[in-house]
Each structure stands twice: as C-alpha cells, then as structure tokens.
C-alpha cells in the first residue's frame, strides 16, 4: 500500500543554518515525534524508536533512518525503514531547500510511505493517518527547531 504526502514549511533561518542542522543526526532525530530512544550509528545513519498512537492503535515503531543530504542539488533525502505492529513501513521523504534571501528558507517536501504486511489491510486507514502525521510533524518540528537554533 503506497501513500503519498506533500507539504511546505517556511523556516525562519537562512539556508546555511538549515544545512548545518540537517547534517547533525542527533538534531534531526530530535524532530521525530514521540521519540522514545535513538541510537546514532554514524553521521548519516541512526536507529530510532517512536511511539505510535492513533485511536485504538498504540505501539512502537522501530526505524532505521538514513539521511542523505545533497547540497549540490539543494535537496535532502530521508529514508526510514522499519516497522512495528507486525508490519513494515518504509518512508522516503525528500525536501528541496530554497534560500528565500530574506533570512528565511523554504522546505518543499514530498513523502511516500509504503505499508507492508497485515497492517496494510487491517489498519490501513489508521496507518495512513499515522504516516501522514509522522511526516508532517517531522517537517514542522524541523522548521521550528531550525528557526530556534
């Protein structure tokens, strides 16, 4: 089951600052909602556990997260692979980073989630909502933290 989302965030910071933030996995991980634990493997890879709660669904998802900043393309790619609740979830998101020249930076993001396994048919609606919420929150948090930094 493939789900697609997109959105836009305006960060109150210039692009340089945004790039510095993105290249720090600890900082990026802190933007995951309901984060219960994170283990940084290297500057691009980490393992994070996040809580999931939508209506009746409550549990934890464990994700291998791979950050792939591509400054030459003004783009950052993020891949989350993992799962929970007997199902696998693959999330890929990419954001194009455009300095607006007015101390703000635009994050134009697109995300794609693939839910596999029993939850794809059982909890499809719920996981759809959850994946959407997860991606939206990550980018909203990123925007906020970057602005604060």
């Amino acid at each position: 089951m493939k789900l697609e989302y997109s959105g836009q965030e305006r960060v109150q910071a210039e692009a340089d600052k945004v790039w510095r933030f993105i290249q720090d996995p600890q900082k990026v991980a802190s933007c995951l909602p309901d984060l219960t634990s994170v283990e940084i493997k290297d500057e691009k890879n980490m393992v994070a556990t996040v809580g999931v709660a939508v209506g009746p669904v409550r549990g934890t998802f464990r994700f291998n997260i791979e950050l792939d900043p591509r400054p030459e393309e003004n783009k950052v790619m993020v891949r989350l692979r993992g799962g929970g609740l007997g199902s696998a979830v693959d999330l890929t998101a990419s954001a194009s980073i455009t300095d607006q020249g007015d101390q703000t930076t635009l994050l134009d993001w697109q995300g794609q989630a693939t839910v596999s396994g029993p939850a794809a048919s059982l909890g499809g609606r719920v996981l759809d909502a959850q994946a959407k919420k997860l991606i939206q929150t990550v980018f909203a948090n990123l925007s906020q933290r970057m602005s604060e930094a």
Binding site: A88, V115, A120, L122
Partner: protein, 756 residues
C-alpha cells in the same frame, strides 16, 4: 421394488451437534501439554532476508524455542502437477528470500498461544526489499522468481483442433474480450489447524489436521520425516469447510509434526482468520483473452485465445492442477468445430493458488458463458436461443475437441426445464415492462457441463453381533454430510435401518486407505466402493439365511422383516441371520464367521454433471448496488441419493458463485500487498444478499458407476458466477465488466453510458 432409503430426504444427523457448538474441530481438541506454534510471516512480497534477531523473542516468558530455516533440515511441502510442469517447492520456513506476503519466516514455540504471539512480535527480521511482480501477465516476461527454473512459466499447453483460421475468416460476427477470473479466498468457516504428538516409546506420530485428505497427509509426513506409514496416524476431526483449500499438504502441517518429534512434546498450530487470507491458497486467478466466431444463424464456428493462470509464488499439491481443467472444459456443452487455445501458468509474488470449489471448471464456464452472451448481443438473439442452437446433442459418450469424454448429458432438456420453471417468456416480458419504468433489471443465463470424480476409493461395511453397523470410507468430508448418503446406500442394500448404521472416516488407523474428499468424487467413487462392500455383506447374509431356511439363495428376497423365501411365508429375521453369522455351528459348510465386506472401486472415467441456471437482478441506478432478486437452478448430477444433501450443495454453491460475481476479490497492489486480508475488507456474501435458491434437478444416470451418480459439490459455484454476471450486464446493457461487480464499478459504468 422401489427404494426405501436411496432417494429419500433423510435429515443430516450431525447437524444437531454441530449447530449447538458441540462439534470437535481442531481447536476444540484438548490441548494437554501442547506447545503453541506461531509463525512470523513476511510483510514483503519479495525481499532478501538480511538478518534475523531472536534474542528478545527467546527472553519472552513461556517461550520454549524459536527457529529459523537455518535450524531445520531442508524440507519442502509436497507439490504435484502435470509431468511437464516446473515445480517451485515451498520451504517450511523461508530460506534467504521471501516471495509472498505471508510466507513463514520464523517459528515460535511457547507454552501458550498468547506467549508465542508476544514473542513473535519481538522477533526482528531485517529485509532488503526486491522488485515485485504480482501480475501474471507481467510475470510472463519478468525475471524468474525461482532462478533455478530459469522462467516463471511453470506450464504451457495448447489445444488445436479444426480449421480455426477459416472459422474466423468466414465468421459473420466475432466477439471477444479480456476476461479476468479474479483471485478469491476460499475462506472456510474454520481456518486450517494442526496438532501433532510424538510417542517416543512406540516411535509413532499422530497428527490431527483440518484436512480433506488424511491418507495423502500421512504419506507426505512419512516421506518427508523419514518414517514408515505404519508409524504415522492422521486424523481429520470435524472439518468446518475447505472448498478444496485443505487438499494441499501445507508447510505448517509438516512443521508442526517435525517440531513435535524434535521436541518430544505435542505441538499445535491454529491459523488465524487474518493469517488465512495470506497463508491458505487462493482460487481462480486467471486472465483470458478469448474470441468466439459465429455464423449468421448464431452457430459457433470457432474459439481461440489464451488463458494465463496465476500460480502465486510456489507450487503446492493443487497449484498446477487447476488450470489444465480450464483448458479441458473450454468446449462446454457446445459444438465448437474449431479451437485454438493456449494455456500458460506462471509464478508471481503472491500467495500460492490452488483448487477452489470447481478448480478450473468455473473459469472455463465463465469464459464460455460470457462469450455466449456477447454473441447474443452481437447477433440480436435471445441468449437462451443462441445456446440452444449450439448444444451438443450426443451421441454419448461424446468426445470434445479439448479431450474430455462426456459420459451422459441432456443439455437442451436442462435449458428447457429451466425456461419452463422460471417462466422465462414471462420474465422477459416483465423485464421489458420494468425497463420502461426506468428500472434496471436483468436476466442472466448459464448452461454448463462440468467434470467430477476421479481415482479409486475404499469402502467397508462391518455388521456387529448386535446388528449395528460400521461403514468405512476413505473419503473425508468437511461439512457436506456425505456420511448420511453412505448410510442410505448401506441401509438400502442390507436392510438394516439407518439409525443402526455409523460411518467411520477421516482416521488412517480405522480406514485402510483413501483418497479423501475433493473434486465432487465422494459418492461416485467412495459411494460405489461402499455399495460393493454392502453387496458382499448382503451376499453372505443371503447365504446364511438360505442355510437357515433350507432354501436356495436365489429364491430369497430381503424385506423389512428380514429374508423370505419368495412366494411363501417362510422367513427369517435379520437378527437371526446376524446372530448366525457369529455362530460357527449355524453357518453353512465352508463359510467362516463374521459379517463384513471390503471393497475398492476405481472410477475408470470421470462423469460430467450439467445444468442450466438463471439469475434475476436489479441494479440501483443511483448507487450501483446489485440485488439478486431470484435465482433458479436446474442441475443434473445423475441419480440422487439424498435430495436434501443435494439441495444443500446447490444452495451453498450458488451462494459462493454469487460471492465471486458481486463481492469477492483479492487484489494485490504494485508492492505485492494483499489489501483484502481480513473480513473487514474481504466481502463474503451474507444471508440478506443471497436469495432463496429455487433448486430443481433432473436425473440422467451416469454409466460410469453402479450408483449412476455424479458429483454435485461444485455445480452451483460453477454456474452461479456467470449467471449473475450475465444478469447484471443484461441490466446494464453492456458487453462486459470484470468481477466483482461492485457498486462503484457498476455506478461508473452507468455514468459513462449516460454520457455517451
């Protein structure tokens, strides 16, 4: 002399027990100290197994063992198929790669089911997803699922007969379409389940399984686990439906037995309802591109095209066997002077497919009946009339161009009977009137011939000293109630009333051998064996009675009171005859004590039931919702032993056929995810969606067996799908829509028609 029991509507004796919840299904068997097996299954349709971490699972309280393929010997579930077929065997647990969502990867054993489920949730498997091909047409050219086979094409066959090129060149009208027989889930009320115990002292394995074929399972267990068949006992307890899905020996059956022996403890596994949607075979799953040529009078000149069967990821015992049946039956009840047909069966990243109520014949019937209706539209003929112009009228046995040999048939008579009991002419007049009022009502027909019975079967009849009787059969039913018919056959032949007769089945220790219940074979093969065993008993009883009466055996007749010398009042009660059978001094010289018969019966040639069905539907033009208003079935399955059992099969089969036409379907997305893997999404027909089936029958005896019977188990499911689809398309006045005819699909069709 008329029949006392054969042909009588005796009620099923087990129903009182079953409907009160007192059946003994697999999950009802006492658990004792059994370990519970739970399987961790792949969430991916195709992936490499990167790593499996079991530590957390092993630490779960109550967990006894957790195994991956690396911990097991290299074992595979058995598979079979035509000789030229390429078999991709199903491993018990995935090795290196997974190839469908639901494939077992890790086995977790715990003291309770709950603990095993807890631990299964803690197994961490890292997968590396690989490209997926869940579409059978794409699979023809996609990289092979099983590189060792070199291709996804497991089986290819062609049938060419007559001058097809000329038939199409000279045709007045040619109709054709891509016709999809969607994947459906057999969804028996009781999912699968296995319980195994190993007796280390006697070195004997006992396996209870929700199976259709205990002896076949015994053979597979012995062969795979390197045991002799006399070390293995298989018992099928009450089985709550199967529809063909429980013919196969599945990986879980071997795994449970293997683990019970390895751990020296009973092990049980019960399939979950949701689990069953990915781990039990699916049925149908074909795509056909077919064309039919007609002359100006509506006579069929030729049929040509290709059928592609979706096998899923691995071959089980029935995976390769269904599609050839489609090819065999693609002439149906019609004269078709020229044929050119090609069958291709391919592996895909999906749950394996296999025999499901009809197994190949429903597909053939659906294609033909859709083409007939398209032809009727193209030619401006009534669908009944077009069929009538094309029926095979004998002589029987009749050899088709596809290789079938129809034993007996009366296709036109079946249609005539249907038109009469349905008041077809009035129905059409009513439809025309309703259409004028803006109602979208449709009438759909299906005339069919199908194939039932195969192989051989054992039967036994044992009369005990008290006059009670045990009947032994190698068939192993799963809800049909066929034991009641066996009782009637035996009672008829040996004069002991039905209430004194019990049937023993589904236990390899009690029944010497059997091929199980499948392919609507039970009565024509199993019933004939039982009949012959009963005849042996009757012959011996007659000899004893003759001795007691000091008469010649040929002068005796068996009546309600016992044996009598024909034309006199001299007789002997049955009890006396039975008592004598167990008293050596009362027996005639040369006759040994005991009263039993054992027989085997081989069905040398299959038999071919046929019939004509009609559905009346109404489409809600605003929502696209279809309601089946009436359903009329005329089925001829030879001699009928018990009309109640017969009608039960008609009703159930029709319900399943309606299910496929209107509601059911397993569809995979591009990632090979089964999106209907629960009863929240997978729609089975409900009581309010199935009308009362007006069930009629004809009885044209089959020459293939002494009872004159054919099988009725699948007829309804074969005929109802095309009848209902034809009715809906008649209501919509369009050539074709693929199943299921869901409300949205119908609504879109109506909307497009409104625009154009």
């Amino acid at each position: 002399m008329g029949n006392r029991y054969i042909g009588q509507p005796l009620k099923r004796r087990e129903d009182g027990k079953l409907v009160r919840g007192r059946g003994q299904y697999l999950a009802d068997l006492p658990s004792g100290a059994a370990l519970h097996l739970v399987l961790v299954r792949s969430p991916y349709a195709h992936a490499r197994l990167v790593s499996i971490s079991l530590e957390e699972a092993l630490q779960t309280p109550g967990v006894v063992a957790v195994y991956t393929a690396a911990d097991l010997p290299e074992l595979y579930a058995p598979a079979s198929g035509p000789r030229e077929g390429r078999l991709a065997l199903h491993p018990l647990l995935a090795r290196e790669q997974v190839r469908y969502v639901g494939e077992p990867v890790v086995a977790v054993l715990a003291e309770s089911r709950a603990a095993a489920e807890d631990a299964a949730g803690r197994v961490q498997v890292v997968y590396d997803p690989l490209p997926v091909c869940a579409d059978p047409l794409e699979a023809l050219t996609a990289p092979p699922l099983h590189p060792s086979l070199g291709t996804n094409l497991a089986l290819e066959r062609t049938v060419v007969s007559g001058e097809v090129g000329r038939a199409f060149a000279e045709a007045y009208r040619v109709v054709g379409a891509r016709l999809v027989e969607q994947r459906v889930a057999p969804a028996p009320m009781e999912p699968r389940g296995v319980l195994a115990t190993w007796d280390g002292v006697r070195e004997a394995l006992t396996v209870w399984s929700s199976t259709q074929m205990p002896h076949d399972l015994r053979g597979a267990l012995a062969e795979r686990l390197s045991l002799a068949e006399n070390q293995v006992r298989v018992v099928a307890p009450d089985v709550g439906g199967a529809f063909g899905a429980k013919i196969n020996v599945y990986p879980e059956e071997l795994l449970v037995a293997y683990l019970a022996r390895r751990l020296g403890r009973p092990v049980r596994w019960e399939e979950g309802r949701n689990e069953s949607f990915t781990s039990t075979i699916h049925g149908r799953a074909q795509v056909a591109d077919l064309e039919m040529a007609f002359d100006a009078e509506g006579r069929v000149l030729g049929l040509r095209g290709r059928v592609v069967a979706d096998l899923g990821a691995y071959a089980l015992e029935t995976t390769l066997g269904s599609a050839p049946g489609t090819l065999l039956m693609l002439q149906g009840p019609y004269e078709i002077p020229a044929l050119e047909l090609r069958l291709q069966a391919v592996y895909t990243h999906a749950t394996p497919t296999g025999a499901y109520r009809g197994a190949g014949r429903p597909e053939a019937t659906y294609y033909l009946e859709r083409l007939m209706d398209m032809g009727a539209r193209a030619l401006g003929l009534d669908p009944a009339e077009l069929r009538r112009r094309n029926f095979i009228r004998g002589p029987f046995p009749y050899r088709t161009r596809t290789g079938a040999k129809y034993d007996s048939g009366a296709y036109e008579q079946a249609l005539d009977r249907l038109l009469e009991v349905s008041r077809y002419a009035e129905l059409r007049a009513w439809q025309a009137e309703a259409r004028k009022q803006g109602r979208r009502v449709g009438v759909g027909l299906c005339t069919y011939v199908e194939i039932t019975g195969y192989g051989w079967e054992t039967g036994g009849v044992q009369v005990n000293p008290d006059g009670s009787v045990l009947v032994f059969t190698g068939t192993s039913p799963h809800g049909q109630g066929t034991q009641n018919a066996f009782v009637q056959i035996v009672a008829e032949r040996i004069g002991i009333p039905p209430e004194r007769i019990q049937v023993v089945q589904g236990d390899t220790l009690a029944v010497p051998y059997g091929m199980g219940t499948a392919g609507s074979r039970t009565l024509s093969v199993g019933g004939s064996a039982v009949l012959q065993a009963a005849e042996q008993v009757r012959a011996k009883m007659t000899r004893i009675a003759a001795h007691l009466l000091e008469a010649a055996p040929e002068d005796l007749e068996l009546g309600e009171e016992g044996f009598r010398v024909r034309g006199t009042d001299r007789g002997v009660a049955l009890e006396e005859v039975i008592a004598a059978a167990f008293s050596p001094r009362k027996l005639p010289p040369g006759l040994e004590p005991g009263l039993e018969g054992r027989a085997s019966f081989t069905l040398k040639e299959a038999n071919y039931p046929f019939g004509a069905h009609l559905a009346v539907v109404e489409v809600d033009p605003e929502t696209g919702q279809v309601q089946v208003l009436r359903y009329i079935a005329v089925d001829d399955c030879g001699t009928v032993i018990n009309p109640l059992l017969f009608e039960g099969q008609q009703h159930g089969g029709v319900a399943q056929g309606i299910g496929q036409a209107l509601y059911e379907g397993i569809f995979y997305d591009a990632e090979g995810q089964n999106l209907q893997a629960s009863l929240l999404e997978y729609a089975l027909p409900r009581a309010d969606q199935v009308p009362h089936v007006e069930a009629h029958r004809m009885e044209t005896p089959s020459p293939t067996n002494p009872l004159g019977v054919k099988g009725v188990g699948e007829a309804g499911a074969i005929a109802a799908t095309p009848a209902v689809v034809n009715a809906v398309l008649d209501a919509l006045e369009v050539d074709h829509l693929d199943m299921p005819l869901s409300p949205e699909k119908v609504w879109r069709c109506l909307r497009e028609k409104a625009v154009t």
